[in-house]
């Protein structure tokens, strides 16, 4: 039993410490995670960071519209990234937009995880017709393009943050259900599940108390990828005009607003929100890729 001895002699780390140890061996991923944290912080504190409140119509002056980056207004305020078609400070609008985009992405992701993980676990553990019904619905959902389902839902529901979140949840849960089901299927055949049954624990307890924690690594990986996906889908929907209302611009809506000016050389209205969206999604994806590398037992553990 050399393995047992080795395991015992290794310094005891909690799973999270081990996770960080493995994760931090790649510097780019650490930077990406740091950047994600920075973006999150900036989005959360946008009310203090932003030079202007882009939702407050009283402080917005139509005469300041479409000013290039670096211009100053009569009140002595500098528009570092220029202004948009309504005279809003781009930097402020982007910070507020980032907050909204991250919020929509995270909340719809969390709801999608909740629904998808529950259904995936139930399908895997109960099996039989329950499994068949759930997985056929999943197949049906995954058979349609994400954006198409979201568009259909939004055209039925109308506009609003809550409706966008609902639509994004509906297009995401199936991915989680399928991923969790396959992990849970291999987990339920492990001996600890048999041991838990032999202790007289209830089915729900075994599924959510014993199998779910063992599925967390794969949930974590798909969650990061899906949140990035949700943010980009929301941007797409807003760009198409079916997402968030124009009074509360997200990054996607800011890009759409500037799109009309792009050919007239007013690049900043579209390009800066676009870059921010790109960096955000890129960083989240880098984190997700690294998590997949270290948590997937089949992939090589490279430094």
């Amino acid at each position: 039993m050399s393995t047992a001895a080795d395991i015992h002699l290794a310094p005891a780390r909690t799973r999270w410490q081990q996770l960080w140890h493995d994760y931090s061996r790649n510097r780019v991923s650490v930077w990406a995670l740091g950047f994600c944290g920075l973006l999150l912080l900036a989005a959360l504190s946008c009310a203090w960071l932003a030079p202007q409140n882009p939702y407050d119509l009283a402080v917005i002056d139509m005469f300041d519209s479409r000013l290039p980056p670096g211009s100053r207004n009569p009140q002595g305020m500098t528009y570092w990234l220029g202004t948009d078609g309504q005279g809003r400070d781009m930097l402020s609008a982007m910070l507020y937009g980032l907050r909204l985009s991250l919020f929509v992405g995270a909340v719809s992701g969390a709801l999608g995880i909740g629904l998808g993980v529950s259904l995936g676990l139930i399908a895997a553990y109960w099996g039989g017709w329950v499994d068949t019904v759930i997985m056929r619905v999943v197949d049906f959902m995954l058979g349609f393009p994400t954006i198409l389902i979201a568009l259909i839902l939004l055209s039925l529901l109308g506009q609003g943050v809550d409706k966008v979140i609902f639509a994004l949840m509906m297009v995401q849960w199936a991915y989680f259900a399928r991923a969790v089901r396959s992990t849970a299927l291999s987990e339920r055949n492990k001996e600890y599940v048999e041991a838990a049954i032999s202790l007289g624990l209830s089915k729900l307890r075994i599924v959510f108390g014993h199998i779910l924690p063992n599925c967390m690594p794969s949930i974590l990986v798909i969650a990061t990828v899906q949140i990035a996906h949700a943010i980009s889908t929301e941007a797409t929907l807003s760009f198409l005009g079916l997402g968030l209302p124009i009074t509360e611009p997200s990054l996607g809506l800011l890009i759409a607003n500037g799109f009309a000016f792009l050919l007239s050389g007013l690049y900043w209205v579209s390009v800066f929100p676009g870059l921010l969206l790109l960096v955000t999604i890129f960083c989240i994806n880098l984190v997700g890729d690294r998590l997949r590398d270290i948590l997937n037992p089949r992939s090589q553990r490279t430094p």
Binding site: M1, E191, Y192, L199, G200, S202
Partner: protein, 327 residues
């Protein structure tokens, strides 16, 4: 029928697994009986159906496998066909199980205290603090040191022997009337093995827990059992009190096992072994499963022998019981 039914009484149990190649008859007509407080050793080689017999008692047979027929009575209550909720109430509280591999049976992501408290609260209403105190006691009783620290540990931080002690402590939390131990020492090294066997014997004796010890090691039966059942090919070929069976084995298979024990062999000579391979449990026919490897086999063995009582406590399934061929 006696007024006091035995603790566990299995009659003609058949647990089969349908496969694309045919029916896999893992357990094919097992009869056994365990009295309260008794230690029964169930001996057999890999694939003889001994673990599946244990699993059947707790209703742990996974589909597509199922108990095809037979009866398993616990204190006179029929377990086969019992509603899942009633069975769950018995599991862990009245009948508990210790599994083979302690690396696998504890949940790797939950701390020891979480798992013990959960096992306690599954059957008794008690506060977290009470459950923690009970868990602490239970670990001390299985000979763990620095218990408070161990309770906070994750399974991977404990050695194999310690993990099996934890598993045993969990199985005995509710002082079950019956404990099924499925080769609990096979995955451990020899020094830990004897410690674990000693602890389990002591604890079962203290609690009055009857023990069904599943093993492939006939030597263990000698050391700890009251009675022994020898399994071969999904059936019990010989059963009876340990002393009687080991001093005068009736079935040729038991004799073969005894002869192949290292202690019975002469130093420097090759160990004796039973010729041939264990039979496949797939599409088993009507003949005696041991016939192809048996030195005494003849035409009579084409029909599987019924269990014959040799005394009130002993029985054997062989047409040629006690007959020895001279080599």
């Amino acid at each position: 029928m006696s007024p006091n039914p035995p603790l566990l009484r299995i009659r003609d149990l058949r647990t089969h697994f349908p496969t694309p190649e045919g029916v896999f008859k893992a357990v094919d007509g097992v009869d056994l009986q365990v009295e309260a407080g008794q230690v029964l050793v169930l001996v057999g080689e890999s694939g003889s159906g001994k673990s599946m017999t244990g699993f059947s008692v707790l209703g742990l047979i996974e589909p597509p496998g199922r108990i095809v027929s037979g009866s398993i009575q616990y204190k006179g209550q029929e377990l086969i066909g019992m509603p899942e909720s009633q069975l769950r109430a018995l599991r862990g509280r009245d009948i508990a199980m210790v599994f083979q591999d302690p690396m696998m049976t504890l949940n790797p992501v939950l701390r020891i205290d979480t798992q013990m408290i959960e096992a306690l609260q599954a059957h008794e209403t008690m506060s977290h603090a009470q459950a923690l105190a009970r868990s602490h006691d239970a670990l001390e009783r299985v000979g763990m040191t620095s218990v408070a620290e161990r309770l906070k540990a994750y399974p991977h931080e404990l050695s194999g022997g310690m993990r099996q002690r934890v598993a045993i402590a969990i199985s005995l939390l509710h002082r079950p009337a019956l404990l099924i131990a499925d080769e609990p020492t096979t995955a451990l090294d020899v020094t830990i093995q004897s410690q674990i066997i000693f602890e389990m014997q002591k604890l079962c004796a203290q609690n009055g827990t009857a023990l069904v010890w599943i093993t492939h090691d006939l030597g263990l039966a000698d050391a700890m059992g009251d009675s022994v059942c020898v399994m071969y090919g999904g059936r019990i070929v010989e059963s009876g009190p340990v002393r009687e069976v080991l001093s005068a084995p009736a079935h040729p298979y038991t004799r073969g096992l005894m002869d192949s024990l290292p202690s019975r062999n002469v130093r420097g000579q090759r160990l004796q072994q039973i010729a041939g391979m264990p039979p496949s449990a797939l599409n088993r026919g009507q003949d005696c499963a041991f016939a192809p490897r048996c030195p005494q086999a003849d035409r009579a063995c084409q029909i599987s022998p019924a269990a014959t009582a040799l005394s009130a406590t002993r029985s054997v399934r062989c047409h040629h019981a006690f007959t020895k061929v001279s080599p």
